[in-house]
Structure formats: structure tokens, C-alpha cells
């Protein structure tokens, strides 16, 4: 499955590379949108959204959290994708953003997952739940607003095992605040799991000389997932 994703990502990126349209456009030109393309790395590795506890969880979610052992139950121990929003918030590997009028694509080195943000369309109906969900985006001034639904319930919000359901809804406001800085503000809601929306912020720094490298998690993974 992972290999198919990688091949798919490579194909799409190759297609974009040979297309005459620009990845992004200069914000100084009228009618253009900001260029957020490039390789970006989180400024601070923040593995936990609530390091002191206190996540606004529904009772069942609180019980599930307490019953979870992060040493053995993290899906990532089996090299499964962190999914959205976790890989955007709390994974210390770079991502490359490819920008296109119809799509914004994000390839994350740590998970080899292709995230597609579809510009100019609404969410599809009858979505099959997935790790990255279905993301649609639009520009509001200098901010890319990304709305994502259609998640499976197999991922955590962070490294601390905060659960969610398939009702998870993530809204991101992504803005390039200066040449070297990208800011992503998250509003994470799941009425089935949380008593109120969770907000988070991640800052990324541009790595102009970096390229995304191969990462085959299954190569020599010594961790055990759920004692299997």
C-alpha cells in the first residue's frame, strides 16, 4: 500500500514538474496567491498536544486514553501513517509542498504519505475513511484555508494517544509569515470525542537546500505494535 502511495506521489510530482504552470505565484503580482512551495521542517518538535494533560475529551474518549499504552499501541510503531493532523503537528521530519492552481500537494518524508489538498471543489460524498482524509482548500487573502474530513479512526492526534472518531473535522489556516516561515493554525473538532474544539499551532522553517529523501519504515523496525 505504501509503495503504491509513493509511486502515486512520484507520478503526480513528475507531472507537475513538466507542466508549464507555476507552483506558486509572486504575491506582489495582482491576482496571484502566495507561494508556499518548498521543503519545510517543524521549528519545534512537540510530540504532545497536552503535555500536562487536560485534553477536552468526552468520557469514553478519556477512558480510551487511559486504557492506551503509548509504548505498545501507537499505530506508528507498525509503520502505519500518523495521518492528519498528527504528521503536520508532531512529526520531526520535513515535508515538501508542491503548489498548483487545482491542488496543493504535500509529501512528508517521515511517512511517505501524499496529502492532496483539492482547490476549487467541495468534499466528495460517501467518502471512504482514510488516514489523511479528504482535504479541500481555498485562498482567503494570503491564507490557505484547508478543510479536512473523511478520516478513519485509526490514528491519534499526537504522540500522546488522543483518540478521535470518523467525525473528526480539521480546519487549517496556513500562512507564510515571512520568507523562511510558514504557520499552520489548527482547529480540530470531533463532537463525538471532544467537549470543545482543540486548537494548535505549528511553525515550519524553510529548508531551501533540502530534498525529500527515501524513508522505508519497514526496513528495520524493531518496535512491537500491540504485542504482535
Amino acid at each position: 500500500m505504501r509503495n503504491r502511495l509513493i509511486l502515486s506521489a512520484a507520478g503526480v510530482v513528475a507531472m507537475l514538474a513538466f507542466s508549464p504552470a507555476p507552483r506558486g505565484q509572486d504575491a506582489a503580482h495582482p491576482g496571484s496567491v502566495p507561494d508556499i512551495s518548498g521543503v519545510w521542517l517543524v521549528e519545534k518538535f512537540a510530540p504532545l498536544l497536552f503535555p500536562k494533560g487536560g485534553a477536552p475529551l468526552q468520557p469514553w474518549a478519556q477512558m480510551k486514553l487511559k486504557a492506551t499504552n503509548p509504548q505498545t499501541d501507537d499505530p506508528n510503531l507498525a509503520c502505519l501513517p500518523e495521518g492528519v493532523p498528527r504528521f503536520m503537528i508532531s512529526v520531526p521530519y520535513p515535508m515538501e509542498i508542491f503548489q498548483w492552481p487545482s491542488q496543493v500537494l504535500i509529501i512528508h518524508e517521515g511517512t511517505s504519505v501524499l496529502r492532496q489538498i483539492h482547490m476549487g471543489r467541495q468534499h466528495l460524498k460517501d467518502l471512504d475513511p482514510t488516514y489523511a482524509g479528504d482535504s479541500v482548500g481555498k485562498w482567503e487573502g494570503d491564507t490557505l484555508v484547508v478543510d479536512t474530513i473523511g478520516f478513519n479512526d485509526k490514528t491519534w492526534l499526537d504522540g500522546g494517544a488522543i483518540p478521535h472518531t470518523e467525525a473528526l473535522h480539521v480546519v487549517e489556516r496556513i500562512r507564510r509569515t515571512d520568507h523562511d516561515t510558514l504557520v499552520d493554525e489548527f482547529t480540530i473538532d470531533d463532537p463525538m470525542a471532544y467537549t470543545k474544539p482543540i486548537t494548535a499551532l505549528q511553525i515550519y522553517k524553510l529548508k531551501p537546500d533540502w530534498e525529500i529523501h527515501e524513508y522505508v519504515c519497514e526496513e528495520n523496525n524493531k518496535y512491537t505494535y500491540q504485542k504482535k
Binding site: 517543524v42 518538535f45 512537540a46 510530540p47 503509548p70 501507537d74 512529526v91 533540502w210 524513508y215
Partner: protein, 128 residues
């Protein structure tokens, strides 16, 4: 006994939420390793596994009775290590090094590496 091998740093410099991108741990980093402590072990490299999702250094460490303890030193992913200056031939069997990093919470002879110190005093960090 094992604790006698460990040289504890004067200060614990790792803070859970302000790690920066100083360590490129991936799987279970917060769960498995005590990020509030930094320890060092000195020994002889037996194997250097240059693999994803983590590289590993296997180290023979003599305790005070002369017995050899087998240590496993976990590093980050290869791409991030390469960006920090590591190469697949950075270490070879027989190299004498000191490994400094976060100890395992369960007390097993495992570290998550912050940096190594070669016999000549040269240092190489696992971070950028």
C-alpha cells in the same frame, strides 16, 4: 550495577515540549525514553546499522567488574542523520566512542542518542 556505568550530566537539558528539532526520534520516543535525563556510556562499537526507521549503534561496555554489557544506541532516520553529517561509514566495528543520550525508561541498556564523542575528542551530534 548498570547505573554505576552511567555518568549523569550535571543538568537535564531536555524539556518535553521544547525539544526543538534537536532529536529526530520517531517511534515511541516520548514513551520509551526519559527525556528529562541525559547519560553517557563509553565502549567499543560492534555493529553500526545504517537503516530506517532508526540507525543503531551496538556497543560493548565494560562494567567495573570487567564484564561486558551489550548496549543498543538508537538514532534517528537516515535522511536526518545525513543532514547532520552522519554517513553509513561514520562508525565501524572496533571504534571506541562515548554515546550520550536519553536512557530507556525501563532500565534496559538502551539510549536514544544525542551525540557521540570519538576517541580523539571529536563530537558528532545526532541533531542538526
Amino acid at each position: 550495577m548498570r547505573n554505576k556505568l552511567l555518568v549523569f550530566s550535571a543538568t537535564s537539558i531536555f524539556l518535553l515540549l521544547s525539544l526543538g528539532v534537536s532529536t529526530f526520534a520517531h517511534h515511541g520516543f516520548v514513551s520509551w525514553f526519559d527525556t528529562s535525563r541525559s547519560v553517557s556510556v563509553k565502549g567499543t562499537v560492534t555493529t553500526f546499522d545504517w537503516t530506517n526507521p532508526h540507525a543503531y549503534i551496538y556497543l560493548d561496555v565494560k562494567n567495573e567488574k570487567g564484564a561486558v554489557e551489550k548496549w543498543s544506541i538508537e538514532l534517528g532516520a537516515l535522511a536526518m542523520l545525513a543532514r547532520a553529517g552522519w554517513r553509513r561509514d561514520t562508525l565501524k566495528s572496533g571504534d571506541e566512542i562515548t554515546a550520550i543520550g536519553n536512557p530507556a525508561k525501563d532500565g534496559k541498556p538502551t539510549l536514544h542518542l544525542s551525540k557521540i564523542v570519538f576517541a580523539n575528542g571529536q563530537e558528532l551530534s545526532s541533531a542538526l
